[in-house]
C-alpha cells in the first residue's frame, strides 16, 4: 500500500547532468506521466541503458535495472514476460538503441513486446565526450570524425515503423507538457511503443540549442495528419526542413505476451513455485 497519496518519484541522489541538459526535461515528463497514470513506485520497472540518459537510474524512485550499453530492450522484454502486470519503461540513448543495440530494436519491435522505449536522442555520444552517434547528420565534425562524419544518419522512427512497432512518436525535451502527454499515451499503449525525444546537449551539441529546436519543430496534432497509415507515417519521418513532433503511427494488435499460451490466464511468476510433475514427459521417453 502507498504510504501517502503523493508517490515518491526521486531518490536522494542529485542528478549529475550538465546544467541545461535535456535530461532534466525528460525526467520531469516521466515524473508527471507516472503521476497522471497513478503508477506506484513498485508497479513500474525502469530499465536503463548506458549513457547520460541511463544515469537517471540513480535518480528515479521505482524498481530499476541499470543494464549494459545497447541491451536495455531485451532486459525490458524479459521482465515483461516474467511478470506482465508490471509497467516497463526503457530509458536509452540514440547510441544504445540505434547503434550498439539496433538488432534488439528490430527483434523486439516486430514481436510487439508490451513496453515503452524512450530514446534520449541528442545526436551524439555525449558521455564519452561527443563522438558521432547513429543519428548524427552526415558531415558533422566530432572527436571521432574530425573531417566530418561520412555516414548518413539512421531514421529512428522510420526504422521502428517498418519493423512493426505499434506506437511511434517523437517528442521534444524542451516542451515538458507535450512530452508528458506523449509519454502517457506511450505508457498507456498496449504493445511496443517507441518515443524518440529530441534532446539538446548544451555541452557537446551547440549547433542545436533549445531555440534551434523551437524554430525547427511543429506539432502533428496541429495539422490534419492522422497516425493510422504506415506508409504516410514513414513519409512523415523523412521530413527534414521542419521536424514533426507528436504521434506518427499507432495501431492495435495483440501483444507478444498475450499470444503465449502459458500466459493466457496468469503471469509467469505467479505460476513459478511449487511441485513439478514430470510423469507424462518421462513416459514419452520409452
Amino acid at each position: 500500500m502507498p504510504d501517502n497519496l503523493l508517490n515518491k518519484r526521486t531518490t536522494g541522489v542529485n542528478p549529475t547532468w550538465c546544467p541545461g541538459c535535456g535530461n532534466f526535461g525528460i525526467l520531469g515528463a516521466i515524473k508527471a506521466s507516472f503521476d497522471q497514470l497513478k503508477i506506484e513506485p513498485q508497479q513500474a520497472v525502469v530499465v536503463y541503458d548506458i549513457g547520460c540518459s541511463g544515469n537517471m537510474a540513480d535518480f528515479v524512485y521505482s524498481y530499476g535495472f541499470h543494464s549494459l550499453h545497447g541491451r536495455a530492450l531485451p532486459v525490458g522484454a524479459g521482465i515483461k514476460l516474467s511478470n506482465h502486470s508490471l509497467k516497463v519503461l526503457n530509458i536509452i540513448g540514440d547510441g544504445g538503441c540505434f547503434g550498439e543495440g539496433v538488432g534488439h530494436l528490430v527483434g523486439i519491435a516486430k514481436g510487439n513486446h508490451d513496453m515503452t522505449v524512450l530514446t534520449h536522442n541528442n545526436f551524439l555520444y555525449s558521455l564519452t565526450t561527443g563522438q558521432k552517434s547513429p543519428t548524427t547528420p552526415k558531415g558533422v565534425k566530432t572527436p571521432s570524425t574530425p573531417e566530418g562524419s561520412l555516414d548518413e544518419p539512421v531514421n529512428p522512427l522510420g526504422l521502428a515503423i517498418i519493423n512493426q512497432a505499434t506506437f511511434v512518436a517523437r517528442g521534444f525535451a524542451g516542451d515538458i507538457p507535450h512530452l508528458t502527454q506523449l509519454l502517457t499515451a506511450a505508457l498507456s499503449h498496449r504493445g511496443f511503443a517507441l518515443l524518440d525525444v529530441l534532446q539538446p546537449c548544451p555541452t557537446y551539441n551547440q549547433d542545436r540549442p533549445y531555440n534551434w529546436y523551437r524554430e525547427h519543430i511543429y506539432k502533428l496534432e496541429e495539422t490534419d495528419y492522422q497516425p493510422t497509415d504506415r506508409l504516410k507515417a514513414i513519409a512523415k519521418t523523412m521530413e527534414e526542413e521542419k521536424l514533426p513532433i507528436g504521434i506518427f503511427f499507432k495501431e492495435s494488435k495483440p501483444t507478444y505476451h498475450q499470444q503465449i499460451n502459458s500466459l493466457k490466464t496468469a503471469t509467469l511468476i505467479s505460476q513459478s513455485n511449487g511441485t513439478v510433475d514430470l510423469t507424462s514427459a518421462l513416459s514419452q521417453l520409452r
Binding site: M1, D3, K8, T11, V13, E40, P41, Q42, Q43, A44, V45, V47, I50, A57, D58, Y61, Y63, G64, F65, H66, S67, L68, R71, P74, V75, G76, A77, G78, I79, K80, L81, S82, N83, S85, L86, G103, H104, V106, G107, I108, I260, N261, S262, L263, L268, I269, Q271, S272, N273, G274, T275, V276, D277, L278, T279, S280, A281, L282, L285, R286
Partner: protein, 557 residues
C-alpha cells in the same frame, strides 16, 4: 556383457537418425539397454550420416567400435567404416546398386529403405516385428494412416527377406532384462527435464549445435510445463532477456555453444556484478569460431571458468552422464537463486546429442527456493538495500511489484542501495561481499563433489571430467589396476576433496577432449599438483573405451 552393436550409415536426408531412434526404442521395449551414438556433418542433404545403437543385456555407457551389424545405404556406408568391421560383422547393402564383396545383399530402395532395413534388422537381432510396428505407428501416426500402412508393409518385406535369405546369419538371442524402469533419452533432454524439475520457467536461446535440440525440446514442452520459451534475435538478446526475466523473479536459463557463449560473455559479467541468477548451458563443439559444428570436443573448460572481464563468483558444472545432466540441470536452478550468481553447465556434443538408456528419474520435485526479503513491514518510500553486506555474501532481494522493496539492480559498481559508486571503500566492500559467496557455496549440502570409481588404490589413477566419465567407466572392468576420479563440478575448485582422493594413489594421468590439457592445468593452478601424463583427443570424436584401455595399459607393469 553380451551385446550387439548395430549401425546404419548413409547420406543425410535418408532418415538415418529416425531409423536409429526407432531401433533403439524397439530394443528398449524388448528388454535391452541401449547406447546410441550419432555422427553427421553440418549439412542438410548429402553428407555422410550414421547412427549406432549398442544393444546390450546390461547398461553399457559408451559406444564401442567393432560392429556386429552394419546397414549401409550407399557405398560410403561400407567404405568409411572398414576399421569397424571384421569377419564376424554382417554388412547389409543393396549390392545391385552398390556392389561390394564384403556385403550381403539387402534390396533397399526408395523413400523407405530405412524402414526396410529396420525390418531386416529385427530378424537379425531376434526382435519382434510387432514391437517395431508399435514404434512405427507412434513415430509416423501424425503423418496419417497411409504413411503408417506403407511403413508397416515395408518393415515386413525387410523382415521376410532377411528370414528367407539369411536364416543362418541370425545372431544368438540376447537375454532380455527388466528394462521397464529405463528411459531412453539424450543429454539435452536429461538436462532440460532436470531444469524443469528445478523450477526453470524461462528459456531463451539462439539455435546452435549441439544445444539446438534443447531449444526444440523446451519449445515442445512450453505448454505442458507452463514455460516461456523464446528464440531471440541473437545470443546477446538471449542472455539479457533471460536476465530481465530472472530479475523479475522467474528461474531463467539459456543454452548455446562456444560461439554463442562468446557473445554472451558481457551478459555473464552483468549477472555477476548485478547478482542476478542465471543458468547457462554451454554445449561444447570443436572451435574456435565456427570450428566443426556437429562434432564433439572439450576445449571450453578454462574459458567457462574465466570468461568476462574482472572477477566474480560463479559455479561451473561438468556432468558426465544422463543422470548427472539431470541433477546438474535441477540443482543449477536452485543454486543460481540461492546464491544469486551465474551457474554454467558444460556439456559437449557427445553428451548433449547422443542417446542412452538410464534409470527413470523421480517424477515429482519441489521447485520452491527463494531468497526474498519480507518487506511487508517496510514503508514503500524507503529504498531497499539490494546489496546489503552479509556474512554469507548473499543479500536478500526483492522483486518488482513487491511493495516496500523498491530497489535498483545495477551493472555499475554500486553501494548497498544499488546506486552507482566510485568510492574506494564501497567498491571494496561489494567485491568482498560477492566473494564471500564462494565459502557459502562450498558448504552447500548438495554440492557435487569429485568421486573415485574402481579400486580404492590402484597403479594408475585416471582423472577426467564431463562426458569422458561414461567412456572411462566402461573401460574400467578391463583395467583392474586402474581407478578413476571424475569431476562433475570444477568451479569453485574442490581443492579439499580432490586432495583427499589423491592420497595414497600412485600414478596419475588426465583424460581430456582438448589439446592443451585444461583440467590438468586447472589442477596445477589450484593445488600445485602436477600430473605429467595426459591422454588428449581433439579430432572431433569422443574418446573410446578402447583408447582408454590401450592408453592405461602402458602404465601397468
Amino acid at each position: 556383457m553380451a551385446a550387439l552393436n548395430w549401425k546404419i550409415a548413409g547420406a543425410a536426408g535418408e532418415g538415418i537418425k529416425i531409423a536409429g531412434l526407432i531401433m533403439s526404442k524397439v530394443a528398449l521395449r524388448s528388454g535391452y539397454f541401449v547406447n546410441g551414438y550419432t555422427e553427421y556433418p553440418s549439412l542438410i542433404r548429402g553428407g555422410h550420416n550414421t547412427y549406432q545403437a549398442l544393444i546390450a543385456e546390461t547398461n553399457l555407457t559408451a559406444p564401442q567400435i567393432k560392429l556386429d551389424l552394419l546397414i549401409a545405404l550407399n557405398s560410403d556406408g561400407v567404405n568409411l567404416h572398414l576399421n569397424e568391421i571384421d569377419d564376424h560383422t554382417r554388412v547389409l547393402a543393396n549390392t545391385e546398386l552398390y556392389p561390394n564383396q564384403r556385403a550381403l545383399n539387402l534390396p533397399m530402395s526408395g523413400m523407405m529403405k530405412n524402414t526396410f532395413a529396420l525390418g531386416a534388422s529385427c530378424f537379425f537381432l531376434n526382435l519382434e516385428l510387432t514391437s517395431l510396428n508399435e514404434i512405427l505407428k507412434e513415430s509416423f501416426g501424425r503423418k496419417g494412416e497411409a504413411v503408417v500402412t506403407e511403413n508397416l508393409a515395408t518393415a515386413k518385406l525387410g523382415f521376410d527377406f532377411a528370414a528367407k535369405n539369411y536364416a543362418d546369419k541370425k545372431f544368438p538371442k540376447l537375454i532380455p532384462a527388466n528394462t521397464k524402469k529405463q528411459i531412453f533419452l539424450s543429454g539435452n533432454e536429461a538436462l532440460g527435464l532436470g531444469s524443469i524439475a528445478g523450477g526453470m520457467k524461462f528459456y531463451s536461446a539462439y539455435p546452435m549445435t549441439p544445444t539446438s535440440a534443447l531449444l526444440s525440446y523446451m519449445a515442445k514442452k512450453e505448454a505442458e510445463f507452463k514455460l516461456v520459451v523464446r528464440h531471440a534475435e541473437d545470443e546477446i538478446g538471449v542472455i539479457n532477456m533471460a536476465l530481465g526475466a530472472s530479475f523479475a523473479g522467474v528461474k531463467a536459463m539459456v543454452g548455446t555453444s562456444g560461439g554463442g557463449f562468446s557473445l554472451m560473455v558481457e551478459g555473464l559479467g552483468l549477472a555477476g556484478v548485478s547478482e542476478t541468477p542465471i543458468v547457462i548451458n554451454l554445449g561444447m563443439r570443436p572451435g574456435p569460431a565456427t570450428g566443426m559444428p556437429t562434432w564433439t570436443g572439450q576445449g571450453d573448460l578454462l574459458f567457462a571458468i574465466n570468461a568476462s572481464q574482472d572477477e566474480f563468483p560463479r559455479i561451473v558444472l561438468t556432468p558426465g552422464d544422463l543422470n548427472e545432466a539431470f541433477s546438474a540441470g535441477r540443482l543449477s536452478q536452485i543454486w543460481a537463486q540461492k546464491y544469486q550468481l551465474p551457474v554454467i553447465i558444460i556439456t559437449d556434443k557427445h553428451l548433449a546429442e547422443d542417446y542412452a538408456t538410464t534409470q527413470i528419474f523421480n517424477s515429482t520435485w519441489q521447485a520452491s527456493v527463494e531468497t526474498l526479503a519480507d518487506t511487508s513491514h517496510r514503508a514503500n518510500n524507503d529504498p531497499f538495500e539490494r546489496y546489503a553486506d552479509s556474512d554469507s555474501g548473499i543479500s536478500l532481494r526483492t522483486l518488482p511489484g513487491q511493495p516496500g522493496g523498491v530497489q535498483l539492480t545495477n551493472s555499475y559498481e554500486h553501494n548497498r542501495f544499488g546506486y552507482a559508486t566510485e568510492a574506494a571503500a564501497e567498491r571494496k566492500t561489494q567485491v568482498d561481499k560477492r566473494f564471500k559467496k564462494v565459502k557459502t557455496v562450498m558448504a552447500d549440502p548438495d554440492r557435487l563433489k569429485p568421486a573415485l570409481y574402481g579400486p580404492k588404490e590402484a597403479e594408475l589413477t585416471l582423472v577426467s571430467w564431463g562426458s569422458n566419465k561414461t567412456t572411462i567407466l566402461q573401460a574400467l572392468p578391463e583395467l583392474p589396476e586402474v581407478n578413476f576420479i571424475h569431476f562433475p563440478w570444477v568451479w569453485p575448485f574442490p581443492q579439499k576433496e580432490f586432495g583427499e582422493l589423491i592420497k595414497g594413489q600412485n600414478r596419475f594421468a588426465t583424460v581430456e577432449g582438448n589439446s592443451q590439457g585444461q583440467l590438468n592445468r586447472l589442477i596445477r593452478q589450484e593445488t600445485g599438483f602436477a600430473i605429467k601424463d595426459q591422454l588428449l583427443k581433439y579430432d572431433g570424436r569422443p574418446i573410446n573405451p578402447e583408447e582408454v584401455t590401450a592408453y592405461a595399459r602402458q602404465f601397468i607393469k
